[in-house]
């Protein structure tokens, strides 16, 4: 619930901040620097373009003698173009018009580049011919003069040639200066006419004339081309296109600007609303804070008394715990005594039987003893009689006869053999009694926490002795003892568990039955299985059998603690106890006890 409201608050917070961020972004989307850079790029492009035109013109007018100035703008314009494209990138999507103008500008520049390249080549040739034509004509006329000097009489054709070539030069230079197309037909006529005269000329003059004519043709051909190229270059609406780009850009920019203004107003309103919201939240917070402060004060007071109470409670609890611990120990002991009590009659009987026949045997021996005593007394008289043998032969004879009679009677009755048998019987009876007493002692031992390594098979035997009375005549006990290692445990406690299980098993058998006791080693565990073929435990009862004070026996017959204590003991040993039962088939309890720490090889060796 709390998590959900936190999440909702978070989402609202992010939403509000998001709107604020969006508005802020929209307001910031206009970058004045960038705007200035774009305008600057356009102005610079315009300037470079203008300068380029100037440089082209200068090379045409031969003011500039090289073409570096005409060539250098290429790289400048290329980098300016790239700058423009990258800076206006975000605007291009918004305005097809701007994109169109830039594309057109690029197209125009490409055309201009081509025209300028063409112009450079043509202009170089034109200038070369213009530069050289005077020299060429001069060479020609001086050769003609030499020829005229050589000839004795003036040659009209040669003089005409000289005059025509000189006027050709003048006309060509005039044509170059004025660029008047009207001069062209006349020039062409002169060239044709001069060309026709070549055949009649000497080799020298003819080839010089050829050079002049070649260059004249070049000038005639290239001059209009260069002029046209120049005109085309100057007339390319590049600078108008740059202005167009600026206009289109400004339009988009203005649109953005007004958009920005709109968003700015929105931002102001939104920020105002947010401020109000924050003020309200602040007010609420302050109020809550005050309430919290009061609550806190109360809590503080409560806390102080609480601490005392906690200390007190802890004391009480620990005292109760100690008491509980003691009462638990008492309970376990009393349960033990209770089960022992149940055993007492049987145990008494168990002791009584050997005791009875011990008693009767000893009685018989006691009865028979006077006779033997008599024999010995009579026998005792013999040495005296022997001393007086010489004097009293008759007394000896008589005494001998008496002894013989007594001896014969003892031998005849087999008293000594009987006594031997009786005493053997008594000894075994006494052994039984002492074993019983020892078992009882073992069982009832109060030093329950003593831990020792014990052989559970032996423990089970001793428990079976105590339980013998319950089992006798009713239950046949089948033992499947496995070869199990010593177990580190409290034997008296485990004995209590086993006794409980065996007695319960016996009680579950109504007439005659079998209890199977099985021991086996299972990894680190020793398992003891007590199985009977009695009436079984109903399904609804089975889960509760280990509950304290749960009993199916009549009131006063059981404490209802047996199995719960057994469970507790096994648990304390780190083991488990498990019951499986089937009605009318029997119950099977499995106790698993870990072998425990002192299972050193030494212990095993001893066990072996």
């Amino acid at each position: 619930m709390k998590l959900r409201s936190t999440a909702i608050n978070l989402i609202i917070g992010i939403g509000l901040a998001g709107v604020l961020g969006f508005l802020y972004f929209k307001v910031q989307s206009i970058n004045l620097d960038e705007h200035q850079q774009i305008i600057d790029t356009l102005r610079r492009t315009s300037a470079v373009n203008y300068r380029w035109d100037q440089d082209v013109l200068q090379t045409k007018l031969n003011i500039s003698t090289h073409y570096d100035a005409v060539t250098n703008p290429l790289s400048d314009l290329s980098s300016l173009k790239n700058q423009l494209l990258s800076k206006t990138e975000t605007f291009l999507n918004q305005s097809d018009q701007l994109k169109g103008s830039i594309d057109k500008y690029i197209e125009l520049m490409r055309e201009k580049d081509r025209l300028v390249e063409d112009f450079k080549g043509q202009n170089a040739i034109l200038h070369n011919s213009l530069h050289y034509i005077s020299t060429a004509v001069q060479d020609l006329t001086s050769e003609i003069s030499v020829e005229l000097d050589r000839l004795s009489k003036p040659d009209a054709a040669l003089i005409k040639l000289r005059n025509e070539s000189q006027s050709l030069l003048t006309n060509l230079l005039e044509y170059n200066q004025l660029a008047q197309q009207e001069l062209v037909p006349n020039l062409e006529k002169t060239i044709t006419s001069l060309n026709q005269q070549r055949d009649k000329l000497s080799n020298n003059i003819s080839s010089s004339l050829q050079v002049v004519l070649n260059h004249a043709s070049v000038i005639l051909k290239r001059k209009p081309e260069v002029d046209q190229l120049m005109a085309a270059i100057v007339n390319l609406p590049v600078s108008r296109q740059i202005d167009q780009i600026e206009q289109d850009y400004t339009k988009v920019y203005d649109k953005r600007l007004s958009e920005k203004d709109r968003y700015f107003s929105l931002l102001v309103v939104y920020a105002g609303l947010l401020l109000l919201l924050i003020a309200y939240i602040g007010y609420r917070l302050r109020k809550s804070y005050r309430q919290l402060g009061e609550l806190n004060k109360q809590l503080k007071v409560a806390n102080e008394t609480l601490e005392e109470r906690v200390v007190q409670r802890t004391e009480e609890l620990s005292k109760a715990y100690v008491e509980l611990k003691q009462s638990q120990a008492q309970l376990v002991q009393s349960e033990k005594m209770a089960s022992l009590g149940q055993m007492v009659a049987g145990v008494a009987h168990e002791i009584n039987t050997p005791l009875a026949y011990c008693h009767s045997n000893v009685e018989v021996v006691r009865e028979q003893l006077p006779e033997i005593n008599l024999l010995f007394k009579e026998f005792g008289k013999i040495p005296n009689l022997l001393d007086a043998a010489a004097t009293e032969q008759e007394g000896l004879k008589e005494q001998w006869a008496t002894m013989n009679a007594l001896f014969a009677s003892i031998e005849q009755e087999g008293i000594l053999e009987e006594m031997e048998v009786l005493l053997d019987g008594s000894l075994s009876g006494l052994d039984q009694i002492s074993e019983m007493v020892k078992s009882l002692k073992d069982f009832s031992r109060l030093d329950q926490r003593r831990v020792e390594n014990s052989n559970l098979n032996k423990n089970l035997d001793s428990v079976l002795i105590i339980a013998n009375n319950v089992l006798k005549g009713k239950v046949e006990v089948i033992k499947h003892y496995g070869d199990i290692p010593l177990v580190s445990c409290s034997p008296s406690q485990l004995n209590q568990v086993f006794l409980n299980l065996i007695v319960n098993a016996a009680q579950a058998i109504e007439n005659r039955g079998i209890i199977t006791i099985e021991t086996l080693a299972e990894g680190d565990l020793v398992q003891v299985v007590v199985k009977d073929n009695g009436k079984g435990i109903p399904e609804d009862v089975l889960p509760r059998i280990f509950d304290p004070f749960f009993t199916t026996k009549e009131i006063g017959k059981g404490t209802g603690l047996g199995l719960s204590i057994a469970y507790k003991i096994v648990e304390q040993h780190g083991g488990t106890i498990k019951a499986e039962s089937e009605i009318n088939k029997g119950t099977r309890f499995t106790v698993s006890i870990p072998i425990g720490s002192p299972t050193s090889s030494q212990v095993y060796e001893i066990a072996a």
Binding site: T65, I125, N128
Partner: protein, 322 residues
């Protein structure tokens, strides 16, 4: 990382450096069709040295036999002294190798000017069948196995070995290949920097109109010109091939047929044979062809000799390999 340093171009005489720094010595230059090379260029020296290594690395060619320097040997004036250049598999390409020296001052690259920049130009020889016949993928995979390259590229470029960076390094190196000559000193005002014959040659060079095209700071390299203005060179030579079409090959404009980029004449004495077809064995031959087909005039042998002498004064100091 990209520390830009100024590369001072070696000057035989400190005096001219002082003259340059003392104030613009442009007075003389303005009237001259040829201008001197700059005294300094601003380049990243790390890139220059990386580009130097790449320029001389044969791994750039498919069979590892050809480097840029194979045809543009710095010591041979930035070219290879062959009429036509030899590529991978010992096969000859269709055209004469132009010098790499001062190529950064050319307005475009290749004889036909099809590359606008040095970076663009590099694509040509890398892929050309009769040059390196290579692929960038191959080159990059080779360079990546060389610790020098991986370290160097990573030091200079944030994204390491990339095509664009390889081209950048080579182009920056090429921009460092500048060869100021005695003639530049002459242009800057040292009247004794070249001898009297060379001065005469220069005057003839101007007079005959060579400067109509061979002008500017690279003595050419800033325009296209038709080869055969005053006569049909190709018809006279015969055996016309595609490369003879020149600029037409990339513009497809009939007006560009047989036009070529006017080559720079700097270090021209070192880069025989001449022209795109390597047809002129000596400078004298080349000057004669130019006079006939470009200028349309006869030049006396003595003048040719003087012009050739002037052309020798354009030979600059060859940069040493670092």
């Amino acid at each position: 990382m990209n520390i830009h340093r100024v590369v001072f171009i070696k000057m035989s005489s400190v005096a001219f450096l002082c003259a340059y720094l003392g104030g613009p010595a442009y007075g003389a230059e303005l009237n001259e069709p040829i201008s001197p090379l700059p005294l300094k260029v601003d380049l990243n020296l790390d890139k220059v040295s990386l580009g130097d290594r790449l320029f001389h690395d044969k791994q750039l060619s498919s069979d590892k036999t050809i480097s840029c320097a194979s045809c543009h040997d710095i010591k041979k004036g930035g070219a290879d002294h062959l009429p036509l250049s030899k590529g991978v598999g010992d096969k000859f390409g269709p055209i004469n190798a132009p010098t790499v020296l001062n190529s950064s001052f050319n307005f475009r690259q290749f004889w036909d000017g099809r590359a606008a920049t040095l970076e663009e130009q590099i694509e040509g020889p890398i892929h050309a069948q009769f040059e390196m016949n290579s692929q960038w993928d191959l080159i990059i995979s080779r360079l990546k196995t060389d610790p020098y390259y991986t370290e160097s590229f990573n030091k200079i470029y944030y994204n390491g070995i990339q095509v664009v960076n390889i081209k950048d390094a080579i182009a920056v190196y090429e921009r460092s290949l500048i060869t100021p000559s005695r003639f530049d000193n002459y242009l800057r005002g040292d009247k004794n920097a070249i001898n009297q014959d060379e001065i005469k040659g220069y005057e003839l060079f101007k007079k005959y109109g060579c400067v109509a095209c061979h002008q500017g700071k690279n003595v050419g390299g800033n325009m296209y010109q038709l080869f055969g203005v005053m006569g049909n060179y190709f018809k006279d030579r015969g055996n016309i091939s595609v490369v003879d079409y020149g600029v037409y090959n990339f513009t497809q404009d009939e007006r560009d047929r047989h036009k070529f980029k006017v080559p720079s004449l700097r270090n021209i004495a070192m880069t025989a044979p001449y022209f795109h077809d390597g047809s002129a064995q000596t400078l004298q031959d080349a000057v004669k062809v130019m006079a006939k087909y470009q200028l349309g005039r006869k030049v006396p042998e003595s003048d040719i000799e003087l012009i050739v002498k002037f052309l020798h004064s354009l030979s600059g100091e060859i940069p040493t390999q670092k």
